[in-house]
């Protein structure tokens, strides 16, 4: 059975139609990459799946783990296991990273009828995860994303993902802004999360992430639709030729 099944998805952002009948299916265990020109609708896809206000789905259907995703409110989608790593992670002044993640994890645990973790248990658990990503305690105490460098923000998104252990992770340009070492660390983090019951959807502009995070499928999103799908070699092909073929066709 598929984990995520998007059928003929149409979405508008402020009157403007951005997604124009998008089809995509992810099975558990798979890694898919989406590439495509600026403004094609990649982030819009992520937001529409996550249920952001202002991203109005006007047609089509999305089934997530057997349930109607579009019926759920944003926090429900998250608690059911959908995680979006933001292209532009948001700063929350005054809220320590630890506090933020504790609220997030405990919300999920409550949703699934599990005991909440107390402060001490959580800090232990979080430290372990942070260490894997080369993040120290000082960074966890700092307010969420405030004053973080571009790369640190992306690392922080990866940390959140590994703490929340989603069923489906949508990574929106998590590789952009990373230096070569950080790219490696983040990719390792994502790879650790790969498992037969999880799927990952990576939105990226560059082949280099895909070197570490070898995808099972690569799709081209242009003008609000998936216009081509293939295996990892498609990414190499795009790197060489660009999107001219798809843009002119659109």
């Amino acid at each position: 059975m598929s984990l995520l099944e998007i059928k003929d998805l149409q979405a508008t952002v402020g009157e403007k139609q951005i997604l124009k009948g998008l089809n995509l299916t992810l099975r558990p265990g798979e890694v898919h990459a989406i590439m495509g020109p600026n403004g094609a609708g990649k982030s819009t896809l992520g937001y529409s799946l996550a249920g952001r206000d202002g991203y109005e789905v006007t047609g089509g259907s999305v089934t997530f783990d057997g349930k109607d995703l579009l019926e759920m409110d944003p926090s429900e989608r998250a608690n059911e296991g959908l995680f979006l790593a933001f292209q532009y992670p948001v700063e929350i002044p005054g809220v320590a990273g630890t506090t933020f993640l504790k609220h997030a994890l405990n919300a999920k645990r409550r949703h699934h009828g599990e005991e909440e973790l107390d402060g001490l248990e959580f800090v232990k658990f979080l430290r372990g995860k942070a260490k894997e990503l080369g993040m120290n305690d000082e960074m966890l105490k700092r307010p969420v994303n405030v004053g973080f460098s571009g790369g640190e923000k992306k690392r922080n998104e990866t940390l959140q993902m590994s703490v929340l252990e989603p069923k489906l992770a949508v990574l929106d340009e998590t590789d952009s802004g990373l230096d070569i070492d950080a790219l490696r660390v983040v990719a390792d983090g994502v790879n650790r999360l790969r498992s037969p019951d999880r799927a990952i959807l990576v939105i990226t502009h560059y082949q280099r992430l895909l070197d570490y995070l070898v995808p099972d499928f690569v799709h081209v999103l242009a003008d609000g639709k998936i216009v081509k799908s293939g295996d990892k070699s498609l990414a190499l092909e795009l790197e060489e030729k660009g999107y001219a073929e798809f843009v002119s066709a659109a």
Binding site: F83, V90, V95, A104
Partner: protein
Amino acid sequence: MAATTETIEQVKELGGGDKYKHGFVTDIEMEFAPKGLNEDIVRFISAKKEEPEWLLEWRLKAFERWKTMPEPDWAKLDVPPIDYNDIYYFAAPKRDEDKPQSLDEVDPKLLETYAKLGIPLKEQEVLAGVAGAPTVAVDAVFDSVSVATTYRKTLEEKGIIFCSISEAVHTHPELVKKYLGSVVPYSDNKHACLNSAVFTDGSFVYIPKGVRCPMELSTYFRINAENTGQFERTLIVADEGSYVSYLEGCTAPQRDENQLHAAVVELVTLDDAEIKYSTVQNWYPGDEEGRGGIYNFVTKRGACRGRNSKISWTQVETGSAITWKYPSCILQGDNSVGEFYSVAITNNRQQADTGTKMIHLGKNTRSKIISKGISAGRSQQTYRGLVRMSPKAESARNYTQCDSLLIGDQCGAHTTPYIESRNASAKVEHEATTSKISEDQLFYCLQRGMSEEDAVSLIVNGFCKEVMQTLPMEFAVEAQKLIGISLEGSVG
């Protein structure tokens, strides 16, 4: 119930006889005055309290003055006319049959809030004024009698006086006479005038020279009869080189049918002394349409009389329908320090006009103002602050930071700073920001699984962090929850 009653009985016995030695119980046989305000009522109150002549005279002067004084009208508040003759000034406690007979008869909304704050059932009964419940949440603090004993003994050993003000009038008349009205004169403003004329009780604290009070003093510890919260009078004196931290109020909304509250708080620090005064105010704010709710007209002022002394106010104001409150510092002693940390939250139809005055008189005096105002619903909130550098305030400094956060687009936030500098070497710095709770932040939290309410609470707590950090630990955790609860229903 039995356990609570027992605790109270035991606590009473500790003092020997029916009076708790440090004056924690004000157990006079009450007769009660009818509604209305006139000279007789003032005399009655004073007589009931067997007050000395000077205090009666003072009350009467205050009352005379009150009659001629106009209501303050400069605040950005819409205050309905108050019928002062429709108020009990020395009221009978409610008879048990008039009280809710059990929690089942209490407003479910109130109970919901208690549950969210994690308040135990027994204490809920106290707060909601259920028949048969004790008049104070003794067991909330005194979880065992031995704690109470230790507490009382420790204060006694250090020579600290902590009792009700009506008791202090008898046991320490020289101190009360010296300091009462010395910071907030009875003629200060209409509300302070009223309080001076009819105050029924409040706290008195004196910390002797060189003593560091080893625990937070809290109004919670003081056993009050009902209905004294309305015109409360507090006086705290920190003698040379002493320190005390005082907590007022509690996070749980108490049921109270008195609409008008006019409290006065006076603080005095002598050389090298420090008072830290923290308040959490969560009086009934009225319903969504603004019906009911407390009018909270408070005069709070501290005088740093001594050199190197310090007064620090922290307030978390979430309740009341109308708030009129400006905890202030008169920085008289050279090198003295005044601080004001404030979080004010208004939701629905609440109105708040709040801020501070820092009056720099001495050399090298310093003040710091951090104000965080959060407005939601259709509420209106004003920060009003005065910083005055007098001609002698050589090298004085003030730093003011005033941040407003708006939730939704039907509320109002206003900032009215007044700066008067008559000393060229004094420096005043003022920063102000106004922002909206951002859709980005909200969505980010939701995407991480948090509910909308949890997200708002988290973001707002982050916004207020600088102020919340100054709260004593006991208060901080509950106050954080309270912020979330006060803003429920403000988004979406």
